[in-house]
Symmetry: none
């Protein structure tokens, strides 16, 4: 069974389709002047696991960043998405077809757009993306060292601020992309309307045993506990009520009741065998 | 103005307090057999930005992982949290004081706990953490290469499955930790202290027993069931996993574990008395 993560050292897997899972307004991720090739590779992987593959790098520090070993290694099985990155000279070139711009930054700026937490903002934006009324949506990320320039923030519709600890808000670039991509994907409805909906899913299990079955189980155990001298019928204390409360929380199935009665029977047999 | 992210190459900033922002049940992150020192450093940073600092490494591939250059570099300003990692030889040692275990894995397993998406599950768990009725909460992450072992998943209350693209679900380890830490922090109310007032208050009940206490209870009952001939060690079938699943649902308190161990001891005594 495949683990949820795999080794960063593994060789790249063959290209697979990473087209967006459902038709919505295009989504683009834009890294402005990224300085670490490893981060660029990690961003490719972060996008691919969330089903995005449209992205651009504005003036990366390394012009050959898509071929650098650190990028390839951290991209792992997302080398195909890594190679799809467009490298451009200006933010303007990265924004063709994009109507709605989301900056990511720590703090609000004078004259800047409103600051919002990603979750409520993206949940409100997603219906417009589905309708096509938002136009293309881009998420902009500044350089590792300096964040976003004021003039880049000023042209955005919103400044998304990921909640972080007051004492330390220094998110890694790929981690920030991972969180935004995840929030946007969930806001768009996730990957599988049947499998990703809210309710936790259990492997189908038997229904809980009914009340008479639980009474029968408790009676059987009362007998077993008396047989081994653990329960004194003259001074039962709260033992049986406490066991009942535990069983009510556990909600055993009929087959689990069957097992527990089998244990009670075996206990009685073992104790009575001794007396014979 | 500080950018939201900073350079991974920068020297570590001086230690700052990373105590959890509000008093809740303890939260611990556990990495089982992590193989990449860089990932371990990135996890320290992912935890610190979300205000967590209690974590453990079970049998890391590099015993000196906390001192390795890749770990220090990727930890960036979170070297203090990196150094706080406890390195232990077994998962058991990592779980003292922990009652609620969340596995992270791609797929459900036979006899495994229910699978859930992180957001709804953690939003439902958080009020219990605030009340103190959940006991300590741990999030378990398997190795980069192999994910989690079945027997480690089996002892968990839930298997959290982060939504990922159908064609590529290979989250990097630190990215997975980042997403879970973020979801859990938001479920706990984020960093806004005003949200403290929103936490529901109820009469406290005894917290559930911790994971080592449940392991001890199951081991004691295994011995008892073998003594009375109900469990054949040569053909144990699924009896112990089924009892474990029942116990995970019941979430017994420490005093209930005490009672159930008392029953196991009385069963063994009764059976051995017979043989004398």
């Amino acid at each position: 069974m495949p683990p949820n993560r795999d080794c960063e050292e593994q060789s790249a897997s063959p290209s697979v389709s990473t087209a967006a899972v459902r038709p919505v307004a295009p989504t683009r991720f834009v890294l402005i002047e990224p300085s670490h090739a490893g981060n660029v590779g990690a961003v490719a992987r972060a996008l691919k696991v969330m089903g995005f593959d449209d992205w651009a790098l504005v003036r990366p520090r390394w012009p050959d960043v898509l071929q650098r070993p650190e990028a390839l290694e951290r991209a792992s099985g997302a080398v195909d998405v890594l190679q799809r990155a467009r490298i451009v000279d200006s933010l303007e070139e990265a924004l063709h077809g994009i109507s709605h711009l989301c900056a990511t930054a720590m703090t609000a700026r004078d004259f800047g757009p409103p600051t919002a937490a990603p979750r409520p903002y993206l949940e409100a934006l997603a219906p417009r993306a589905h309708e096509g009324t938002s136009g293309g949506v881009a998420f902009l990320f500044g350089s590792e060292r300096y964040g976003m320039a004021n003039e880049d923030v000023w042209r955005c519709h919103v400044c998304l601020r990921i909640p972080t600890a007051p004492a330390y808000g220094s998110l890694n670039l790929a981690a920030a992309v991972q969180l935004i991509a995840y929030e946007w994907r969930l806001a768009l409805g996730g990957f599988d309307t049947a499998a990703d909906d809210a309710a936790p899913k259990r492997a189908p299990r038997d229904p809980p045993a009914d009340a008479p079955a639980l009474s029968g189980l408790l009676a059987h155990w009362r007998e077993a506990l008396q047989t081994i001298g653990f329960l004194d019928p003259a001074a039962p204390k709260k033992l049986i009520p406490r066991l009942r409360r535990l069983l009510l929380r556990a909600q055993p199935t009929a087959s689990e009741v069957h097992i527990l009665r089998g244990v009670a029977r075996a206990v009685i047999d073992a104790a009575q065998g001794r007396k014979r």
